[in-house]
Amino acid sequence: MKTILLADAAAMIPDGATVMIGGFMGVGTPERLVAELVRQGRRNLTVIANDTALPGIGIGKLISAGAVKKTIASHIGLNPETQKKMLAGELEVDLVPQGTLIERIRAGGFGLGGVLTPTGVGTVVEKGKQRIELAGKPYLLETALRADFALVDAFLADYIGNLYYALTARNFNPVMAMAADTVIVEAENIVPVGVIAPDHVITPAPVVDYIISHA
């Protein structure tokens, strides 16, 4: 049984922590957890996520509240506040191609040092990176990313932590669940152990540390 109260879960995450947050334009983002971090006044977070959503939605709430010092993301275009804070020097933004970002997170969770990708070769993304040629084709060496916490949104969780994601809310969630020291899950539904068929479990229970209780 891994359930925990929302406030207690958020309180585990200190100011300055590096946090991976699932979701794609707010879809599949653990909304209550994000809102609770804002309510608790968290500061100086490094947020690793696909995007910063929109103002008032998902990670956008953290941006607006000034809780974020740095973000590693692939897209910030639909959140004018992220752009404004970045251009004003209040927020550091490290832009990473989406396919590279997800592979770097996967590498962190799967015990790989990094991957070689053709994406970004010959662009500004190459800056500061090692280029490796294999069979005459150039690749960039992109290194693994890990975080102190992964905040994961699931459709179903059982009480020991097996997770199932629905439709396009899966996105970064199962990959991030592998890549952080502490994995906190916000689930739409919490069901008894054995209710999710073994073949339908996407994230295995042992990697999950906490599930936000519905109490």
Binding site: N50, H75, Q98, V124, V125, L167, P174, V175
Partner: protein, 216 residues
């Protein structure tokens, strides 16, 4: 016919049965409206869906079934969902037959810049760099000019999306390819002259011997 419709209809002619295709936000999305009848094309949303259908009727949408812009979509029979690692594995691994995306600039060799204007607009590359690097065929859908200025330039002044050149540019005036690494006029829109296209284009344009009229 408005500019967007001309572009979308012409690009739809590039579709083939069984293709896996990714459509960017904006004009590219319109292409799905013109799939020839009876043709089965798989549309991928890079947020994790193959089999993206039209936006659902009111009251029938679900907040967890969206396109890459976060907008509600439907899933056609035979659709499937997956995580972002798989999504970009499909894109990078040569499984995506075609990507259609917008552009800020395309240069005379076919290089594309579409993800930032330094100091002004920095939305991030999202999936664009992977799409342009990985798709079997890259098609640019854009208006020929922006505020009267040519978007097909001698050399991109904006940061490139990929070192890989695009295969086709479709605008409301023309279809342009890059055989031998040189911008080449392949088709012109109905009622448009080669001269008009040249005047709206900064890059030098080869004119194909078999330049024809877009069948839109």
């Amino acid at each position: 016919m408005d500019a967007q419709t001309i572009i979308a209809k012409r690009i739809a002619q590039e579709l083939r049965d069984g293709m896996l295709v990714n459509l960017g936000i904006g004009i590219p999305t319109l292409v799905s409206k013109f799939v020839p009848a009876g043709m089965n094309v798989y549309f991928q949303s890079e947020n994790g869906l193959i089999g993206t259908g039209v936006p659902p009727a009111e009251g029938m949408h679900h907040p967890l079934l969206t396109d890459a812009g976060g907008k509600p979509v439907s899933a056609l029979p035979g659709a499937c969902t997956f995580d972002s690692a798989m999504s970009f594995g499909l894109i990078r691994g040569g499984h995506l037959d075609m990507t259609v995306l917008g552009a800020l600039q395309v240069d005379a060799a076919g290089h594309l810049a579409n993800w930032m204007i330094p100091g002004k607009m920095v939305p991030g590359m999202g999936g664009a760099m992977d799409l342009v690097t990985g798709a079997r065929r890259v098609v640019v859908a854009m208006q020929h000019t922006a505020k009267g200025q040519p978007k097909i330039v001698k050399q991109c002044s904006l940061p490139l999306t990929s070192a890989r050149v695009v295969d086709l540019v479709v605008t409301e005036l023309a279809v342009i390819g890059f055989p031998g690494g040189r911008a080449t006029l392949l088709e012109i829109a109905p009622g448009v002259t080669v001269k008009q296209v040249r005047e709206a284009t900064e890059a030098e344009l080869e004119v194909s011997e078999r330049v024809s009229t877009m069948a839109v």
